[in-house]
């Protein structure tokens, strides 16, 4: 089943130089392990292909049911150098939430995930 990330998580993003960070937070504690399994560095890097020029680093915060992603080369130099509207990476949060996950039907039912058909 297809699960939209925007239906199972919320997020906030910010900047540090030319790096954007996106913190993704599971809406329910029991959904965090699914996020931790599916949202790999590779998966997120693929998602942002053509949007960022650098690599993706991931950190886990199970205490907050959250993952923190560093998206390098995301901000056209960052800070005052950047010509981008979103020079401070404020809306990379919802850009990440555009992702959809493929979750086995049985698991989606067990976790009570909101699904799309």
């Amino acid at each position: 089943m297809k699960v939209r990330l925007v239906d199972i998580a919320h997020a906030r993003s910010g900047d540090k130089g030319d790096t954007a960070n996106v913190g993704v937070i599971a809406l329910k504690r029991e959904w965090y392990p699914l996020l931790a399994r599916e949202l790999t560095e590779r998966r997120v890097a693929d998602h942002f292909q053509g949007v960022i020029s650098g690599s993706v680093q991931r950190y886990e915060l199970p205490n907050l049911n959250a993952l923190n992603f560093l998206l390098h080369g995301a901000l056209d130099g960052g800070g005052t150098l950047s010509l981008k509207t979103d020079a401070q990476g404020k809306v990379f949060s919802t850009a990440l939430l555009r992702m959809a996950l493929d979750v086995p039907d049985e698991e989606a039912r067990r976790l009570g995930l909101p699904t799309v058909t």
Binding site: H10, A11, R12, S13, G14, D15, K16, G17, D18, N21, G23, I25, L27, H47, F48, G50, V51, Y59, E60, L61, P62, N63, L64, N65, A66, N68, L70, D76, G77, G78, G79, T80, L81, L83, K84, T85, D86, V91, S93, T94, A95, R98
Partner: protein
Amino acid sequence: MKQVVRVAAGQGFWGDWLEAPRRQVEGGPIDYLMLDYLAEVTMSILQKQKERDPRMGYARDFVGAIESVLPAITERGVRVIANAGGVNPGACAESIRDLAASHGAAGRVRIGVVTGDDLLPRLDDLIARGHTLANMDTGEPLSRVRDRVLSANAYIGSTPIVEALRRDAQVVVTGRSTDTALTMAPLRFEFGWAADDWNRLAAGIVAGHIIECGAQCSGGNCLLDWRDIPDLANVGYPVVNAHPDGTFEISKHPGTGGRISVPTITEQLVYEMGDPHSYITPDVVADFTTIQLEDAGPDRVRVFGIGGRPPTDKLKVSIAYRAGFKAVGTLVYAWPDALEKARLADRVLRERLARLGLTFDKMLTEFLGASATHGPLAEASGDLPEVQLRFGVRGEDRRAVERFTREIAPLVLNGPPSVTGFAGGRPKVEEIVAYWPALIDKTEVRTAVEVIA
């Protein structure tokens, strides 16, 4: 010893809500008002102001903020801690002293001034003695841009603020203190936390991180359930209610809008986060993977379990340098085929710039309404009602950037049709002041505290 100390956040950056400091002082009981004014490039703006007028170089909004809370803070004994001093904390303190005098409180407001963060006068000496101040992102030595440096300030920690409080300052003015030290220092002072009480110091830092962006932890910019966050027009700014053991609750004043919940606090905790295991400050390294949050009633969240460890032997240095020029021009194209028209305008503009022989370090085209913020991830579809073409250039040559600004308006008559939204006139050329993060040995930075009244 007090069992609870209340630190209220009244500004999250220079430009934040002017009403917030007064609302924090008058809306309920607090012990400290914390005002954070400094972003990464603010110091360079202030340095430019100081060059023009040696009495300037601090956040002028701070004077208005203090005026809005006088005499309430003197009557209630609320103490104020702010990094409003910028590159001229002494002048900032004097303007507060004069303000107090003009409100009939001459000599009754003790003002602590923290200095020592400003490394600009010592920069050549430091470089000569082998401190490369290499850029933390690129590794390049500062010598590469030395002649373009505008300001250089070490991020300093809580110790001098604690000292100012010990010497009975009611208002403490600092330069480039870390944002989080402004909250942690009064807790360390009130509870007598030792300089190596890593867990409690880390708790103070986490409290600081949660409230340093003002309402961004109390319903502002909150994505989750944003439609249902009550009364944002009347949003309450956060208050830390801290205890001697390092636990604390985040709350806001009764009768205010916004929301404080585990999700709103979590969103703020991950904001601008790097490696959560190592949130490095001059005082302590806090481990954000230890933070526990718990609902503690309406608009109240309890925070506990925080772990910390000793800091490094370095301080971060915020250096600002001149890095060329930029300009951004915009035009709006309307239905039908708005995006196609904007795309054609972009091609025409680029061709004209090329024929003029203008070269830039960077040209960037964005189509607002279609793909500006999410790029190829966006699914702009259908015939959009309007699209804004946003075209930016940056480069070392001011004349080239200037010439570019003359190429936007002509497109209104000699480019694609259905174009509007150019009333703002020619784009402005802006000098870029860029940020150069570096490290310096802690032993090189000596802070000082002076108290005036």
